[in-house]
Each structure stands twice: as C-alpha cells, then as structure tokens.
C-alpha cells in the first residue's frame, strides 16, 4: 500500500485539486441527492420518505420523462458523431502545415470556450429567430427561412448546430493524435499507390482509434449533460412542444418550477446511470475497434 502511494505520489499530487474539491464539496450533495431521491421534498417542508415511489412514477406514469429521454438520445446520437467528424476534418486540414497555425488553432478553439455560456445561447436565439441573421441571409438568396426555434421540426437542429460549432476541444486532441502518426506509413502507402481515401481508412483511422474513442466518450457524456443552450432557447420549459425538453431541462423544471426536489433527485440518478451504462457500452465495444500501439497481441 505504502509503496503504491510512493510510486504514484506525483499522480495523486496532480489529482489533488480535483480530489479535494470532490471530497469537500461534491460528495456531500451527491449522497444527499441519493437520499432525497427516495423522498417527497418540496424544499419548504422536511423530506418525507416514500421509498421507490419516485422511480415507479417515472417509469410507469411520466410521459414527459420518456419524451425527455427521446429528445436527449436524439441529440446525443446526432450531434456527437457530426461534431467528431467535423472536428477531425478541421484537425486534418490544420495538420497540413499551414502558416500561423497557432492562430487558427486558437481561433477554432474559441467557440468551445464561449460555447457553454448563456451569452452564446442568447446569441443563438437571435441568429435563428424568424427575423434573425440566418433567415436574413436566406432571404438574400430568395429563400424563405422557417421558424427555426418555434417549429418543433427544426428546433433541435439549431442546438445540434450549436453543439457542432463547439468542436474546438476534440479538434485539438485530434490534432495532437494526428501528429503522433508516423509519416513513413503514409510515405510507404504512397509508394504502393494508395489514394487519399485509402490512406485515411487504412492508416489514419486505425492509428487514431484510441483518440477517437477518447473523444467519443468525452463528447457523449458532455452531450447527455447539455443544458444551458436548450434552457435558454426554450425559455426554460423545453418548448416548443417539448422538442427541446433535454433531460437536464426537465430535471431543472421539476426541481425549480414545481419544487419536486425528491423527484428531480431521482431523475438525476437515472441520468447518471444512463451515462454510466453508455460509457460502459462504449468501453466494451472498444475492444473490437480500438487498438493501442503498446498492446501486445
């Protein structure tokens, strides 16, 4: 035990800001929310133990719970792959050795810094308004843009585009991964007359697989937890017609609009389990498509 710590001391030292924060600030509320998820609690009165009732209600009675799951899954399934493809595309373009690459990297990373903020969500709402910038541009070309935000057919897509726009952090990681691929592999492939598509699928993708996997897991978790964009654009309710009822928005609504803190806690734990499940599935499938260079096999 002692040897273990001595050997890994540096690692734990680097982890310490997170560890201290977790044990001092996070673990208490986490356990409290687990307890509250078995209670009826409206904040003003003390919580009342009701066993598994919240969970029964959720799965058996609550239509909005299922709607929230559906919206969240659609968002994750569509936005994550598109974002990764976009990030990889930009990373490959930047990998070509462009001048002033540092500037481009910073420039492309900028949306990710701004992305989660309320200000950007408000900006997004202005852009996609019926009288907004997007429709004004469409009108210049003679088109008549739809009601992006108030038509449930389009509203989720505006948020998917917002998510893709925040491609900065997976892009940076892809860029680092691309740099690590030995150039001689490409040169050898060229000698064998492989085209760019062949090179991409035969060299880039397999060698980048660990990085793709890492980005996939991270972005998936991020997408499940996505909140501020949907909250702002839907006015906090998931409108129109619950098409933006992200799981987190529903949770917030139950907690703070209707003061069902116990039920909201139960929702939070279900979300945690869903994320854990999907992460586990991703890890399990990775055996079949992710190969690490230092793996012996």
């Amino acid at each position: 035990m002692l040897r273990f710590f001595r050997r890994n001391f540096a690692g734990y030292a680097f982890l310490s800001p997170w560890l201290i924060g977790f044990f001092l600030l996070a673990i208490g509320p986490i356990l409290a929310s687990l307890y509250l998820s078995f209670t009826k609690y409206n904040v003003v009165r003390p919580p009342q133990w009701i066993g598994l009732d919240n969970y029964f209600y959720m799965f058996q009675m609550d239509q909005r719970f299922w709607k929230a799951l559906q919206v969240t899954f659609s968002f994750v399934v569509i936005s994550v792959p598109l974002k990764l493809i976009f990030a990889l595309g930009v990373a490959m373009a930047l990998d070509k050795g462009i001048r002033a690459i540092g500037w481009y990297r910073a420039l492309f990373y900028l949306p990710s810094i701004l992305g989660g903020s309320i200000a950007v969500a408000i900006l997004w709402r202005q852009l996609f308004n019926y009288d907004g910038v997007i429709n004004s541009i469409l009108r210049l070309f003679g088109g008549d843009g739809p009601y992006w935000l108030s038509d449930p057919k389009y509203s989720l897509w505006t948020l998917i585009v917002l998510a893709i726009w925040q491609f900065g952090s997976p892009m940076l990681i892809f860029l680092a991964g691309l740099r690590a691929i030995p150039q001689e592999l490409y040169e050898a492939a060229e000698i064998d007359a492989a085209g760019p598509v062949r090179k991409f699928f035969a060299i880039t993708v397999p060698l980048l697989a660990p990085v793709i996997f890492f980005n996939l897991v991270l972005q998936m978790i991020e997408a499940f937890k996505s909140f501020s964009g949907a909250f702002i654009i839907s006015g906090g309710t998931g409108a129109p017609l619950d098409s933006l009822l992200f799981f987190t928005v529903y949770l917030y609504n139950e907690a703070f609009s209707f003061l069902r803190m116990g039920y909201a806690s139960a929702l939070a734990w279900v979300l945690l389990l869903i994320i854990a499940l999907f992460t586990a599935i991703a890890f399990w499938t990775s055996k079949y498509w992710v190969h690490y260079e230092n793996e012996r096999g």
Binding site: R45, Y147, L149, T237, A239, P240, L241, S257
Partner: protein
C-alpha cells in the same frame, strides 16, 4: 431602428438601476450597530429604479436601519427564493403574488403580521378589501402594495391610422371577440401591423374566457373548471381571428408561448397593435416604447359576463428567516404609507390600497398612470368576484396549457384533440399535486 432605441433604453435604465443599487450598497456603510433589512422583489427596469430610490429615502429617514434591495426578473425570482428557503437565508421582506402566496403561507415560509399591527405596522388606512385579500385562516399575512386587473393595451397611433376610434367605432370597455376580429384585420390591412397579439397560448386570457362562459378555473372542490367545450371554443375563437389576418402568423406566436418578458409583447416589438397584460404593467410597458398606449378590457362574448377580477397585484410579506421583524415590518409599513416613498413608487405595482396615498398621488400622475387610473375607475363594478386562490399544481397546469397551445398555433393537431389532451393532463397534474 426603433428596436435599437428600445434596447439602448433598456441598457441605460438597467445601468441606472444598477448604479443606484451600488450606491445603496456602498453609499452608506453598514456599521455593526445598524440593523440590516433585506428586501427582495421581482421587477423590471422601471420598477427597480423606483424601488431602489425608495430604499434610499427610507435609509435617509431612519438612522440605525439599513435596508438593502435585491431584484430579479419574474422568471428567476422564485427559483432564487426557493434556494433561499432551502438555505434558511430568505431576505426579511419578500414580494409575493396572489396566486402563489398561499403556498408559501401553507409551507410556513411567510409568517403572520398580527403581532406587529398597530405597533411597527400601520394598516389603519388600508382598504378593507386589501386586508381581506391578505388574510388567511383569520391571520393577516400579506400587505397589498397595489390592486390589479387584466388589461388590454393598444397602440393609439396604429389604431388611429386604421380608423379604429376608441369610444366611437370601438368601445374599449365592452367589445366582443367578433368585433376584435374585425378591427384587428382592418388594422393589419391599413398599417401592415397585425391588429392584436394571438392569445391562443395565453393562460390569463383563457382564465378570463372561462369565467365569461360562466365557469370557474377551479371548482370549490379544487377540481379543474373549464370543460371540453370551453377549451375548444376558446381556441377556435382565436383561430378565427388568426385566420382573418388579425394576428401575427401562428408559428411566430408559438415562439412567444409562456414568455413573460414585457419587452417581447407585440406592442413593444412592433409586431402587433394590441397586447394583453396586468394593468400595473402598463407603466412599465409604456416606458419601453414611443407610441402612446391606450387601455381596454379583455374582449368578451356577446353575453358580456365579466371575466376579469380585481385583485392585489403584489404583496410584501415577512419571512420566517427575518432576524429583526420589528425593523422589517416598520419598513413594510413605510413602503405602503409613507407619502414621500409612495410618491416615487407611483402606480407601478398597481393602484395603491391606501386611500390617503391615492389622494396624494392624484395631482402628479404621469400620462401612463392617468390612463391606468381612468381604466380602474371605468371597470369598477364590471369585474368578476375574486375566487379562492388556485390549488397547488396550478402553475404546472398553466405551463401545460401553454405547451399544448403551441400545437394549436402550429396547426399540428385538431383543436378538439388538443383540448382533450390538455384536460386529461390537467386532471392528472391536480391529482398528483
């Protein structure tokens, strides 16, 4: 360009309110022996400006007491208040509305004022009706800071341009939905601006309509009042006005379902000539626009059964977390009685419930406030009796109405189908609450 001006206006007034806030926070240092009283309200730029000014007046008059103000928009106010209740650090004095007040009393977050009446709290000049409205189970909890009713506001310039003349071609205090349809379409024809906001998703108008139809929003036993026929007729009525071209297009109105921001009202954004609100909001809305607003009641059915009520717009209440209830109630007392302070507050929160204050305000009213007072005089005796406050779960029913009305606005499902869906959901919500 008018849009830009409005935004600029908002910025400057918010900046002004902010700097007043900073002044009141730092301008007078709070010494250890000073008693601190926190006052929390939901507001708008106009209200915040006035309230911070009133706090400064009070602080100037009462050495040893330092009142500090906190404000948020309506949507965030109750979220913040909830977390403060959970944390046991509610401000001493909070603002409450007629609808939600009773939940807070039932939960014990708001405490009775009876012990302070006649001592630190003077209610001798208050209207009896206002005192009654703040009394629950024989105990007095809530000090009314203004009376209120439903009001339609219209852009007088656009109405004039279309030849719709209040008092001649249109009676602002008695007109039917059919007449509304006619003149709204005429305004659109003449000015290019839709004659009225579309109230398909407006719960306030729906509740009015329900009473006009001889029902109540909630029955005596707490069950939901509107019937399938009423819901269908309400949505069909507005669909008729929309189809006649009297409102902005359905999807545009859908985007505003449930939005409570005054700056998003059709009269303010210039998308329509008539919007619907609480009468006390007239002053705030007029502050956001150039054209002069006129006041009218909500539209009615030909039977002309009154649908709107007069009720306290807002109360100030004492919370259970107050560390110094004497100082807090003394401040509350001044907030409704002190003539210097009420002169600044004006009618922004509604018509004051103190007769002396009303008389003192009369000569110095702004034009918008005059419209407001005239409106109140005209509707006396033409309103519905005040009903019992809504049961818990009502906020969720309201949100459900707004959500489902969107599918009516978008024409996705038939009105009878959505109406059935809504009533089923309302029933389930009330059963669960």
């Amino acid at each position: 360009m008018s849009k830009f001006n409005r935004r600029q206006f908002l910025h400057t007034s918010a900046g002004f309110a902010g700097s007043v806030a900073v002044m009141s926070a730092f301008g007078r240092p709070a010494f250890a022996q000073d008693t601190a009283v926190r006052h929390f309200w939901w507001g708008n730029p106009e209200r915040d400006k006035r309230t911070f000014a009133v706090i400064d007046i009070y602080n100037g008059k009462t050495p040893g007491v330092v009142v500090s103000g906190e404000t948020l928009g309506f949507a965030d106010y109750f979220t913040k208040l909830t977390t403060q209740i959970a944390g046991g650090n509610m401000p001493d004095v909070i603002q409450q509305g007629y609808g939600v007040l009773f939940e807070y009393i039932a939960n014990g977050a708001v405490v009775p004022l009876d012990d302070y009446v006649g001592k630190s709290l003077d209610i001798s000049k208050m209207d009896q009706s206002a005192i009654d409205a703040g009394t629950v189970g024989g105990k007095f909890y809530a000090l009314s800071i203004g009376a209120n009713s439903h009001m339609a506001v219209f852009n007088t310039r656009l109405f004039e341009e279309a030849g719709v003349k209040p008092g001649e071609t249109f009676d602002p205090f008695a007109y039917t939905y059919d007449e509304l349809k006619e003149f709204a379409a005429a305004i659109k024809e003449a000015t290019g601006v839709a004659g009225t906001d579309d109230n398909t998703a407006d719960y306030q108008n729906f509740s009015d309509f329900t009473v006009q139809k001889g029902a109540n929003l909630y029955n005596e036993d707490g069950s939901y009042g509107p019937t399938q026929e009423i819901v269908e007729e309400y949505w069909s009525t507005w669909a008729g006005i929309r189809d006649a071209g009297g409102t902005p297009p359905g999807p545009e109105s859908a985007a505003l379902a449930g939005v409570a921001e005054l700056s998003q009202l059709g009269v303010v954004t210039g998308k329509s000539a008539m919007s619907y609100l609480w009468s006390n909001q007239l002053v705030g809305v007029q502050g956001l626009m150039q054209d002069v607003l006129g006041a009218a009641v909500y539209p009615n059915t030909p039977a002309m059964i009154p649908g709107s009520v007069i009720q306290p717009s807002q109360f100030v209440c004492l919370t259970r977390d107050s560390g110094n209830p004497e100082a807090a109630t003394a401040y509350m007392s001044a907030f409704v009685n002190d003539l210097d302070m009420t002169a600044v507050l004006g009618l922004e929160r509604g018509i004051p419930s103190n007769s002396e204050v009303r008389a003192a305000l009369e000569p110095n009213l702004s034009p918008a406030e005059k419209v407001s007072v005239e409106f109140f005089d005209r509707i006396q005796g033409k309103t519905a009796p005040l009903t019992a406050p809504p049961p818990s779960g009502s906020a969720e029913v309201e949100q459900t109405f707004e959500r489902l009305a969107v599918s009516v606005l978008l024409g996705e499902r038939s009105i009878p189908e959505v109406a059935t869906d809504f009533l089923n959901q309302a029933k389930a919500i009330l059963a669960r609450a």
